[in-house]
Symmetry: C2
Subunit: 86 residues, 2 copies
């Protein structure tokens, strides 16, 4: 595998874990007032677009990373709409 | 240009604008307590990795999108460290 493919895997890994500290912080504090619904909505739509791209071009890291990001963005949207406002 | 490349451009566009509503909300409210520094840090590192990937493979949408995301993540980190805690 050429070295640049490893760089792509590292990028996909980092992208996949991006929301993990945010989900953890939100869960711990039960506070999501400063999180933008617009941001989370754009993330969710972009995940669908990237999944189409990834499936069509058989880009496994893109597919895996976007499944994870999509799942975590849904978790954050769920928090956003269910945690009581402060 | 094959249709799947348009899908890639749409994905890159959405990724590029992801943080714009978040920067706007943070600027308007001057409140970033619920934003995870860990998330912003991972975004910044992942942008560097994706820029290496994009430059090496001459992926213009990847390069442009990541420059924008990187800039906006630095803006949010700046807000995070300069806005007074509530």
């Amino acid at each position: 595998m050429p070295w640049i493919e490893y760089v792509g895997f590292i990028g996909a890994f980092l992208t996949a874990v991006t929301f993990m500290p945010q989900v953890w912080l939100a869960w711990k504090t039960k506070s999501v007032g400063d999180l933008s619904v617009g941001m989370l909505g754009i993330v969710f739509v972009s995940v669908i677009v990237w999944l189409v791209y990834g499936f069509f071009l058989h880009l496994v890291p893109v597919i895996i990373a976007n499944f994870i990001v999509g799942f975590l963005s849904v978790v954050l949207l769920y928090f956003k709409f269910t945690f009581p406002k402060k």
